[in-house]
């Protein structure tokens, strides 16, 4: 994985600290061209990996990438699925069976009607695989070396003890897409043990890691301890602690943590992208000098 990954929250009005900022972002990124422009700024700053939700609008971005193969030759996407709001809304409206009917592709429902509900339960893992395939459709022809499960789902399954499904996700992504599975979580220490027990060695985990203990369940000390052990490849996200820490200070902290392979960040302006990249590079160089 590259040292710096570019995220997509800013494009979809996801702002953890201010509804007003969310609205401003929704206005700014109303048109897909505004998103593409920022992605190009990120590329110009040397970032070639875009980590994004399987939001409907990402499909349009994928079209642009496919239409410009030369320009995006080295560009990679790390899809993060599912876009949970879509399913939550569907369950409210259609119920669970109705939602499955709507989103599980292919001929599955022939079998569903034959086998009835019993069929769904026996083969829940196949349903999960079909849902993954449906979400992956938009990325056809694009390089997606790592495919992530969103934290809402990872952590939901983790709490429910549905470890088997987490492992099944990893296996499917590997066998069908020749990609590695990644897991986004707010509970890194707990998740890591579960994945290891399930036979996944050195998993890719993207977690909230910051100086102020924001969304680091179990606490910062425990996280630092786990990081030292080097048992997983970590992507640090929410490094600004939801905006609570000044960027320079925030980046200095994560850039100097052991075994953090990548840092994920999002920004809407060229200036902020450049500053972030430069700051991370500066600390990386300092560290190399010291070592």
């Amino acid at each position: 994985m590259e040292r710096i990954l570019f995220g997509d929250n800013q494009f979809f009005a996801v702002n953890h600290i201010s509804d007003e900022k969310s609205r401003a972002q929704a206005i700014k990124f109303k048109d897909d061209s505004a998103i593409i422009k920022v992605l190009d700024d990120a590329m110009a700053a040397g970032i070639n990996t875009f980590m994004c939700t399987t939001h409907d609008r990402i499909a349009n971005i994928c079209d642009v990438i496919r239409d410009n193969p030369k320009k995006y030759k080295d560009f990679k996407i790390y899809p993060c699925m599912p876009y949970a709001h879509k399913y939550a809304n569907a369950v409210t409206e259609l119920g669970i069976v109705g939602t499955l009917k709507q989103y599980v592709p292919g001929n599955f429902f022939g079998s569903l009607f034959k086998g009835g509900v019993a069929y769904i339960n026996k083969d829940f893992i196949s349903i999960m695989e079909l849902l993954v395939d449906a979400e992956m459709k938009m990325f056809k022809g694009i390089n997606t070396p790592v495919i992530f499960l969103q934290n809402v789902i990872t952590d939901l399954l983790l709490g429910l003890g549905m470890n088997e499904l987490l492992i099944a996700f990893a296996k499917h992504v590997e066998s069908k897409y020749n990609a590695e599975a990644g897991f986004i979580t707010m509970n890194l220490p707990k998740l890591l043990s579960v994945l290891e027990e399930g036979g996944i060695k050195n998993p890719i985990i993207c977690a909230s890691i910051n100086k102020v203990n924001f969304r680091m369940s179990g606490g910062k000390e425990l996280y630092e301890e786990v990081l030292k052990q080097g048992r997983c490849r970590v992507i640090a996200m929410q490094v600004l602690g939801g905006g609570a820490i000044p960027p320079k200070e925030a980046l200095e902290y994560v850039a100097n943590l052991p075994n953090v392979e990548s840092i994920l960040f999002g920004a809407s302006s060229k200036q902020n992208i450049q500053n972030t990249v430069e700051t991370i590079k500066y600390h990386d160089n300092q560290r190399v000098l010291v070592e």
Binding site: I17, S18, A26, A88, L157, G159, G161, N187, S217
Partner: protein, 336 residues
């Protein structure tokens, strides 16, 4: 280990179940849901003992406490059955379909000395907790006017019917959505006990209201406005906010950001005269297991601790939820 069971593993119930599943002091002894697909999947992949009949579940598994997360119309009967069996109860909101039922349950829980809590999770949000503190300690002076708002994209087109579109089952924006705001105002200021006029409007729904606009008065005498609309697609998810204007200052807060203005140098420590901004991240305690917002984990943790006798059972009690049901019925009656 506290023995806990859940009734209703739908959208809300499954979230409670996951947080409970990760809780170090909790053992999940049973899950009840009438949907076969839900209980089969939970049985197979989580290994929970699943039931379709809640009475059979509690009589077999003998839980210390039960979480009730079924559609609202079932709350009354189920909670009553649980209290009768001396079981501590966490119920989802709104508490009951009418205040008579909720009053009965509040008195029953009190008489039996059982721990009781309702899922108004906003009370566990750092910004709203801080707003309450600023108001109660008098830092914005005498409240003169308030505005309680919530907007979100729940019903944004004509939809197929679910329990949410049936007024007899606790559907509609007033009961399902505005209840959060009403409960918050009741808690931060004092309970809404009069209504000078209310409009319940349908936008997409046939049988229920999609928006609530009301002029209300509270026990302490102040008046304010409730403005709630669940058919506003310009919001990505529910956004709840309160504005309180007082003789010494003004507060504007949502779940993320608290803005407060102090007219003079009389302000609490950590603030200054004029505008101040605090973020929920500065006001939130870390939780042991995070699923979808610290408040969802904290409210469960608080309930567990209350059953264990480690904290007083004073937040989101049946009594406060009864008062919220009462406020809801006052607004409803004035809209006719």
């Amino acid at each position: 280990m506290l023995k806990v069971a859940l009734i209703g593993a739908g959208k809300m119930g499954i979230s409670h179940l996951s947080i409970l599943g990760a809780h170090p002091d909790v053992e999940i002894v049973g899950v009840c849901d009438t949907s076969k697909i839900v209980s089969d999947v939970l049985e197979k992949y989580s290994g929970f003992s699943c039931y379709t009949d809640y009475l059979k579940m509690v009589d077999t598994t003998k839980p210390d406490a039960v979480f009730v997360a079924v559609p609202t119309k079932f709350h009354y009967k189920m909670v009553k059955d649980l209290l009768d069996r001396n079981i501590h109860v966490f119920s989802e909101k709104p508490f009951c379909l009418n205040p008579t039922e909720s009053n009965e349950l509040f008195l029953l829980a009190k008489k039996k000395g059982l721990v009781n809590q309702v899922g108004y999770h906003n009370k566990f949000v750092g910004t709203f907790q801080e707003v309450k503190k600023l108001v109660k300690e008098g830092f914005i002076g005498e409240p003169q006017h308030f505005l309680g708002e919530a907007y979100g994209p729940v019903v944004i087109k004509k939809k197929s019917e679910t329990w949410r579109s049936d007024p007899n089952e606790g559907g509609g924006c007033l009961m399902d959505y505005a209840s959060h705001v009403i409960d918050l105002i009741n808690d931060i200021l004092s309970p809404i006990n009069s209504c000078k006029g209310a409009m319940l409007k349908s936008i997409y729904s046939k049988q229920v209201d999609d928006a609530v606009y009301a002029l209300v008065g509270i026990e302490s005498g102040t008046t304010g406005v409730i403005s709630v609309n669940w058919s506003d697609e310009t919001y990505r998810k529910m956004s709840t906010s309160v504005t309180i204007i007082g003789s010494k200052g003004k507060i504007v807060s949502d779940a993320n950001e608290l803005k407060v203005y102090f007219k003079s140098d009389e302000h609490p420590k950590g603030y200054s005269k004029g505008w101040n901004v605090k973020y929920v991240t500065d006001l939130t305690e870390e939780v042991n297991f995070y699923l979808r917002g610290e408040e969802y984990s904290s409210q469960i943790d608080y309930f567990v601790k209350a059953v264990q006798g480690e904290v007083p059972n004073t937040v989101n009690t049946f009594e406060s939820a009864w008062k919220t049901d009462l406020s809801i019925s006052i607004i409803k009656n004035n809209s006719k």
